[in-house]
């Protein structure tokens, strides 16, 4: 799969940046701040360090801009710079021990556990205990309570880095699967597998909380 070249809109932005258009730069920095910060967080120990990585990324962007050849989209290029810098920074941070993911890694299986399903008989691999329905207002209620917000963040933070990147870009930040494939250099299938694991784990992580809501 070839990375798409800059869109006409991006070509405009690129031109404006090279001409020193402050408003164009400011708008771009603003638009990408949240996704860039969230991606950096997957590699470094604190938000303060992640903020530094985002700033370094923009300096790297400015440095590389005159030589940017448009072989990928501008967006892809910027996010790849961020990921490289965040990884380097994460390794350099001596104090930082990668979070323990328990039995998980990017290869880890993230379906509901086998014990959720019947092990034998004519109904094997069907639910042992039926999933309960969650309150219809679950998303809103989860986000309103400070306690459950902490749990949501903890669930995302517990994911292996690539899964965390995929779920952050796709679900939290609303990127398309093609954009995510290009940024992370994944095939469509691989991206879907990682998204599946990340979503399944999140669902399982905060399921007990949601049952309490009803």
């Amino acid at each position: 799969m070839s990375a798409p070249v800059p869109s006409p809109q991006e070509a405009e932005t690129l031109k404006a940046l090279l001409q020193g258009d402050e408003a164009a730069f400011s708008a771009l920095v603003e638009t990408y701040y949240s996704p860039l910060l969230r991606l950096a967080m997957a590699h470094v120990p604190s938000q303060a360090v992640a903020e530094e990585v985002v700033q370094e990324t923009w300096l790297g962007v400015l440095e590389g801009l005159p030589k940017f050849e448009g072989r990928s989209s501008l967006k892809t290029w910027i996010f790849r710079i961020l990921i490289n810098r965040a990884k380097t920074r994460g390794i350099r941070e001596r104090r930082y021990e990668p979070l323990s993911h328990g039995f998980l890694d990017d290869e880890g299986n993230e379906q509901p556990e086998q014990e959720y399903f019947l092990a034998s008989g004519p109904m094997s691999d069907h639910w042992a205990v039926l999933p309960q329905s969650w309150d219809a207002a679950t998303p809103e209620r989860l986000l309103l309570s400070k306690e459950s917000r902490t749990q949501i963040d903890a669930a995302i933070a517990s994911l292996p880095p690539t899964q965390r990147h995929v779920i952050t870009l796709r679900d939290v930040e609303g990127f398309t699967s093609l954009e995510v494939c290009n940024i992370l250099d994944l095939t469509e299938t691989n991206q879907r597998v990682l998204l599946h694991r990340a979503r399944s784990r999140s669902e399982r992580y905060w399921s007990p909380m949601c049952k309490d809501l009803t």
Binding site: Y33, P122, M123, H126, L130, P131, L143, L195, S202
Partner: protein, 91 residues
Amino acid sequence: MTSKLKQALMSYMAGNMTCKAVTNVITDYLEGALPFWDWVRFHMHLGMCFGCRNYLRQMKQTIKTLEKLPSEPMPPAIRDELLKRFKDWKR
């Protein structure tokens, strides 16, 4: 009809897609990447399985929750610093 027999019959009619199989392909389904006959079996299973209907709803609510997470606001100090760097870069 005993409930066990009924369940077995329902399982057969659902084209033998198990609940576990449904949970395995749920993202493929939501991404529109399920091959046609799997899509049919998925729906047949869902039509008969209360648990999987709930599971699908939970997955959708999970995604919706993620979508609704507020953006990280950019601290003004960072914006100012970057704009300053941009002005320097321009020269």
